[in-house]
């Protein structure tokens, strides 16, 4: 969980991983088995794989405090997500809505749900079939960043698009 968070919240890391992925594939003439295309190595982000989605597309967007508005940077990410999801239609999608800890538990369950719904609606408006899109709120119960200041809170105010219903 922490590894993925680091990849996707640091643009430099994302670029680096993408480069590694390309060189990795280029140097490996033929994959030996499906395991080589699995989710364990940074070099295995096969187009259309879950890892391709997480690493090359970006599986999560972030929100302002106590807000469920899709920010401009998030719109870019979600547009990329929609394009990818429309290309690889085999995946069912669960959008997780999360909140930072600076709210009370029940309110944050509602806020996470609203963020997941806003994300779902954006993807649906970009052509992703509504029948593929489910949402779930985790409120503030599943933080990815665990410090007690703004740098962590901003990473925890997120909606994560997960494929095949796998958790983040």
């Amino acid at each position: 969980m922490g590894r993925i968070a680091a990849f996707t919240t640091n643009p430099v890391m994302i670029a680096l991983v993408a480069m590694l992925a390309i060189t990795g594939c280029a140097s490996k003439k033929t994959p030996n088995s499906a395991a080589d295309l699995g989710l364990n190595g940074a070099g295995a982000a096969t187009p259309g794989s879950a890892q391709d989605f997480t690493v090359n597309i970006g599986d999560r967007i972030f929100f302002d405090t106590d807000s469920s508005s899709i920010r401009a940077d998030a719109q870019t990410t979600l547009s990329r997500q929609a394009q990818w999801l429309n290309q690889y239609k085999q995946y069912a999608i669960v959008i997780e809505g999360h909140a930072d800890e600076r709210g009370t538990r029940e309110y944050n369950l509602a806020l996470g749900a609203r963020r997941a719904a806003a994300t779902r609606d954006f993807l649906a408006a970009r052509g992703v079939s509504a029948s593929r899109l489910k949402t779930i709120s985790y409120g503030k119960e599943r933080p990815v960043a665990v410090c007690d200041d703004i740098s962590c809170w901003s990473q925890n105010r997120r909606a994560v698009t997960t494929l095949g219903g796998a958790g983040s």
Binding site: M1, G2, D66, S68, E101, R102, G103, T104, R105, E106, Y107, L109, A110, L111, A113, R114, R115, A116, A117, A118, D121, I136, S137, Y138, G139, E141, R142, P143, V144, A145, V146, D148
Partner: protein
């Protein structure tokens, strides 16, 4: 567990006859006026209950700890005692207790009965009036030793304050363990002083926000066990669980109605907002109480069942609203500088406790039921979720610090804050009602 939660048939109370001369009516008996703004804790001497083993002092120690934690009593250090009580039934030398400023004195004993039960008795003395104020004895099996101590503490509290005690009560809460980004959350129940913890869920699914039914036999709470977070009912004794309602989306923030017939909760709408519904547990019929394109959550009934307070962000940010139990007359009542949530109506009906976020802090406070007279009782970096002791004088909530949440209690003066000891991190406390 069963004997703990059932009405305790094995505890039989009997009044003990007055031993002090009943011919000293000249003094008004010692009395603690808890309705004054600033209550000075009453100095009280609680002697070791006599038993010939460790049990007697253990029982009197629990009585002493209960009374001290209430903030209304100041148990006197035993090393200051002059008279050594040789018989708990004999009239004490009142002068020896007056000189160390003990306004009240408690003596007692614990003995084993032939049938294996224990017999615990106490006498409460007014040292300045020189007479016994009350005396009772209780019979209990081994499993209820601590409970007997709490019942004695309740009797002393009630005799001296004129208010119901709250020590023979339990708290359901969420036991939290493990790293912050992978917390294991378990439903748990314990005595109000943190003893006798029992787990009611296995920790495989996230569980949140447990609340007692008025008869203390059931808990309503939220669980992720079906994948989608939903509200459940749990029979504490049998462990039987059932889903509350068959709603398409997330249900959360449940609470019982005061008559125990309904559960009120939030239901997620398809547009991402949340509204408040009440479900009748017998007929299974549901009633929509709010219909706003906003977050409406954390509903709490007034003790007479006629009104509901709740959190809504319909005006922009979260504030507290009040409405009739049928959804009529929805009115904002919080107007202070900050964000308000988790309103909980006092069991006495006079106040609403809440969590307020302002200036980077989380505060626990109370306001009158029309929103006026706001008072902040506790401030901290991260704390929330007040629950009322059944006598409406003490609140418990959870505070996140040093890596995780812990339970804290505070009285209505805000001056007496106490930690509730728990083995792991703990959150979402809900105090049981009194068993009538």
């Amino acid at each position: 567990m069963k004997s703990i939660l059932k009405p305790l048939l094995t505890i039989a109370a009997m009044a003990l006859g007055m031993t002090a001369a009943a011919t000293l009516p000249a003094y008004a008996l010692v009395e603690l006026n808890v309705n004054k703004g600033n209550v000075e804790p009453l100095p009280i001497a609680i002697t070791d209950f006599q038993s010939g083993d460790a049990l007697g002092p253990e029982i009197s120690g629990i009585v002493s700890a209960d009374l001290k934690r209430s903030g209304l009593f100041a148990p006197i250090d035993k090393s200051a005692f002059i008279e050594k009580i040789s018989s708990p039934d004999a009239t004490p030398r009142f002068d020896d207790w007056k000189v160390i400023n003990a306004q009240a004195l408690v003596t007692g004993s614990v003995t084993k009965e032939a049938d294996g039960r224990i017999r615990a008795q106490y006498r409460l003395w007014d040292t300045f009036a020189g007479q016994q104020m009350s005396g009772e004895q209780f019979f209990a099996n081994d499993a209820n030793q601590r409970r007997v101590a709490h019942i004695i503490a309740d009797a002393i509290y009630e005799r001296l304050t004129g208010e119901k005690g709250y020590f023979d009560t339990r708290v359901v809460f969420i036991d939290e363990s493990g790293a912050k980004n992978a917390r294991k959350k378990r439903l748990a129940i314990m005595d109000q002083d943190g003893a006798n913890v029992r787990y009611l869920s296995n920790g495989k699914s996230i569980v949140l926000t447990p609340r007692f039914s008025p008869n203390r036999q059931e808990i309503t709470y939220m669980s992720y066990e079906s994948g989608q977070p939903r509200v459940y009912l749990l029979q504490i004794e049998t462990g039987q669980r059932e889903l509350v309602g068959n709603f398409p989306g997330m249900t959360f923030a449940p609470r019982f109605s005061p008559d125990g017939q309904k559960v009120i909760m939030s239901l997620l709408r398809d547009d991402g907002n949340s509204n408040i519904f009440a479900m009748d547990l017998r007929s299974r019929s549901t009633t929509r109480l709010t219909n706003s394109t906003a977050i409406d959550t954390s509903p709490s009934y007034s003790p007479d069942g006629s009104k509901v307070v709740f959190t809504s962000d319909r005006g922009g940010r979260a504030q507290i609203y009040s409405m009739g139990a049928d959804g009529s007359g929805q009115t904002r009542i919080s107007f202070g500088d900050g964000v308000y949530s988790t309103p909980v109506w006092s069991p006495r009906g006079d106040l609403i406790a809440f969590t307020k976020q302002t200036g980077g802090e989380f505060q626990i406070g109370v306001m009158k039921t029309d929103g006026s007279g706001e008072r902040i009782l506790s401030s901290g970096f991260q704390q929330e979720g007040p629950t009322w002791a059944p006598n409406g004088r003490v609140l418990m909530f959870f505070r996140d610090s040093a890596g995780g949440p812990k339970l804290i209690s505070v009285d209505l003066t805000g001056r007496n804050e106490q930690s509730i000891p728990t083995a792991n991190f703990a959150s979402d406390p809900a105090w049981s009602p009194l068993l009538e």
